[in-house]
Assembly symmetry: C3
Homo-oligomer: 174 residues x 3
């Protein structure tokens, strides 16, 4: 189904489910040259704190790239066989696209297109956000619709998909 030579993996889970730590362990165990794409932007104190918390948990020799908006371009720019790229995370990227009022379907299509021709192994981390009650505002409903579409899109292209809860992975595909 996918044409990604290095292999595509989606790690899906809730907030503080251990999904980032699990994805980071996959990177370490791969033995490949590790690259990290952070989609987060430190726009306020709470976000800065969360970013610092995550950064401290990663090995110092990983190469970090920032891609709050141009995820497809960044993936193509650093793509090389023998590399593993961890993208953490897709839902923050979507948040950034919405804040910047970008064309969401076009951005999704560009990411899917980029994914199809990568030589590196790519591990995407994403939040499942659709399992609570219906949010009371339109923006949140649109966000969870778009997040659901994005997760479905990447899952369809992925070789392996994991659902993570309480730090434990459940294989959904692969």
């Amino acid at each position: 189904m996918t044409t990604v030579r290095g292999g595509l993996v989606l790690v899906l889970g809730g907030a503080r489910s251990g999904k980032s730590r699990l994805a980071e362990a996959m990177v370490s165990e791969s033995g490949l040259e590790a690259h990290y794409i952070a989609t987060a932007e430190a726009l306020d104190g709470e976000m800065t704190e969360r970013i610092a918390h995550h950064r401290a948990s990663r090995p110092a020799h990983w190469t970090t790239h920032e891609a709050p908006l141009d995820l497809a371009g960044t993936l193509k720019a650093i793509d090389l066989p023998g590399r593993v790229v961890l993208v953490d995370c897709l839902t923050l990227w979507l948040t950034n696209l919405m804040m910047a009022e970008r064309d969401i379907p076009a951005a999704f299509a560009a990411l899917a297109e980029a994914c199809k021709s990568l030589s590196a192994r790519v591990i995407f981390v994403s939040n499942e956000v659709g399992l609570g009650i219906v949010p009371d505002n339109r923006m949140s409903r649109d966000f969870r619709d778009d997040a659901g579409r994005l997760n479905q899109l990447i899952a369809a292209l992925s070789d392996e998909v994991y659902f993570v809860a309480a730090g434990l992975p459940l294989k959904m595909k692969g």
Copy 2:
């Protein structure tokens, strides 16, 4: 456990998880005469948009029925061997019952009773809504309690139950 001759299936998932598409694929693959029970009512512009989006994705030769409240009666009225009936979805039906101030436990009991004597295969789509934080208002808490009870009730009667995330089904039963 169930006495449904045609078989009962529950497809459970979050918002925009791909659960409707998965259930629709089950209908198409069954080779049976396809009937669709829509529980949605177009009460505002956003809802009209969501209904039209779903309708456009279904084959034109399916017979569509509308049952915002009398789901048990509609199931019994169209029940015939050799048919498959897709009910999309139980959580919208519950919303309609609440809005119309119907007797929820009585409506659940009537649905369960109807399910036990059907000849058609029936595929229920439902939302899991209890995996976020506790909602800040009583109506939402009651809704997710009732939705949880309904999902448990139908799951207990079902031959197969699937949990869907990112378009991928995870078999919980069957």
Copy 3:
């Protein structure tokens, strides 16, 4: 991984997912002397109602203990081989800790430490609360972060972990 002689079990699920009933069935089927630790406090009418609803579903011969805050101490005080202790639930305990402005990391560490030396079998019930959209207030975000950390901590110590939806258990570990 765990040194608990009696065995540690985590039953994780959403609101009204059937997780308490499933855990209660595990207690009954164990054939061990049943003890129940309630972490709930009846602070308002709605809570009183929910507690009464749960209590009515348990066999009368179970011994009930109340531990809204000192869960580690209560577990150690009633610990004996041949006993099974059901703790329902961890997320309410966390709520109580937050309300009482206790030191959360210290309380988690004390619980983990207690778990490592128990002779009784212990079954923890907990809510997964991180699968909805990001809550709009800081306290709720902190709560779901702490709940996620607690679930990961107990899951790592547990011999068996189950994810429950619609009354059906999915084994995540064990």
